[in-house]
Subunit: 284 residues, 2 copies
């Protein structure tokens, strides 16, 4: 079984409820890679018996650090229309006893929520279609590039084969501030795995934080909100298969402790599979 399939392997425990766990193969420096948490949240709706269609939008808010260990999920279709379905999904973990009652958590707070999500699913029809964003041109093939070295990195980047065209993770934190944070890279699961919505959701969070690329210095940071729009349907994902897809990412603005980054994932044939945006907390 592929480690990603293990990571998103959820067990139904009650109506709307699923259990899963942070997977060591996708560990980050502390807790699991947020991309797998996003994929688990999406997977709850994918596995739900009332699901309609395929995902078109997913927003995940990372409310608290996810700890290694079990995670409980609750996924509810709050509105089902003829061709669209709206979901609210939550991830819970047993509350860390070090977090006391003195933190001002009021009557409206639910203990142990570590992530909330909303998703929109839809039954798609063929329509007039057009790509307006520009896929980077004159990019070398994945075969012409070398894989990013992952030695010494946390587990999760070892689960991706990343081949950078520009804007690689800095080889050293030399504090040489760059003019921009743009990255262009080919990326696929490692080992190879045929792309599906869950892996596309995870890959949308696989861009290294832009502030590392821009400032080349260490910083405390964490994604607080991640939104991905799925332009691909399952037929298009099947065409991509196990091949690399082209990722581009950049930051728009860093201000007073938060920055946003925006990214795109392109099929080798130039179809935009997903556009993805996130807001990231940082401390300098």
């Amino acid at each position: 079984m592929h480690p990603f399939d293990e990571a998103i392997d959820l067990c139904p425990t009650a109506p709307h409820a699923f259990s899963g766990a942070a997977h060591p193969a996708y560990a980050n420096m502390v807790g699991p890679f947020g991309g797998t948490t996003a994929a688990q949240l999406l997977q709850c709706a994918m596995l739900h018996p009332e699901r309609l269609g395929e995902p078109v939008a997913l927003t995940v808010n990372f409310a608290a650090p996810v700890a290694d260990g079990p995670i409980c999920f609750v996924a509810r279709p709050v509105r089902t229309n003829r061709s669209t379905q709206h979901w609210t999904i939550e991830a819970h973990q047993s509350q860390d006893p070090s977090e006391g009652a003195g933190k001002g958590v009021g009557s409206g707070s639910v203990s142990g929520v570590v992530a909330t999500a909303t998703a929109v699913f839809a039954v798609r029809r063929e329509t007039w279609s057009a790509v307006e964003a520009l896929m980077p041109a004159h990019v070398p093939t994945p075969e012409a590039l070398v894989r990013m070295p992952v030695k010494g990195m946390p587990a999760w980047p070892q689960r991706y084969d990343m081949r950078f065209v520009e804007g690689a993770f800095p080889a050293a934190f030399d504090e040489q501030e760059q003019a921009h944070s743009r990255s262009t890279l080919w990326v696929r699961d490692e080992p190879e795995r045929a792309m599906d919505f869950a892996s596309l959701a995870a890959m949308s969070d696989s861009f290294f934080p832009r502030i590392y690329i821009r400032r080349r210095r260490r910083a405390l940071m964490g994604t607080v909100s991640l939104t991905t729009y799925f332009h691909a349907d399952s037929a298009l994902l099947a065409q991509v298969g196990t091949r690399h897809v082209l990722g581009v990412a950049k930051a728009l603005n860093y201000r007073h402790g938060y920055f946003d980054q925006t990214g795109e994932l392109w099929s080798p044939e130039g179809q935009l599979l997903a556009s993805t945006h996130q807001l990231v907390y940082f401390k300098d």
Copy 2:
């Protein structure tokens, strides 16, 4: 009282619950302008006695058409940390009796949800800051441009003073497809109103659907998911005051019934106030 203040005027009715209504001054062709619905959802958290800090991220999913008339809101802080707070917010309306039970709405569905939202609030600190996105250069001042004519339009565009640099709403649906859908415009509330988070949230949804600009033909459409990142804090919004801000918007991809659009709102001094993204359903 400014019509926007009337539109976001909510009344607390129970713990976490507020009542409001669709305001005729912001009517769209059917139901209210989605921007005011987004502003109402955000305003619930702004008014909530447990609120911490200021908004940094807001996602609104439009689950069903909002009808003219009363709207009930429920806003809960699901996680409050030292400097961040995570919200889930819902808007309900009495269910339209024409929507029958035969639609496959299962046990997990909540009757009458018309919109769901999540928001992240934060207490910000001053940090290293940088704008990486490019504000359009060589743009005429608002005074050098004419206001978009609003005669014959629904009520909501009449509540904005929009002055287009490029990519105006088409004067005629002549079906001349354009190469791109980029718009650049100055925009402010009409009548003038000092900007706050609620109006910034609404303005983030004030870009006309990109498919109108691109295809210059009528289409059925509706935003299904809207995400806004607030880079401005209240001090920066106070500097903007009642002046025009510069909006830019473009589409990334149109495919099989959905397209995404991305936008930015800039202060006259070149500060990025908000970046905003949405996924839109369309039928051609």
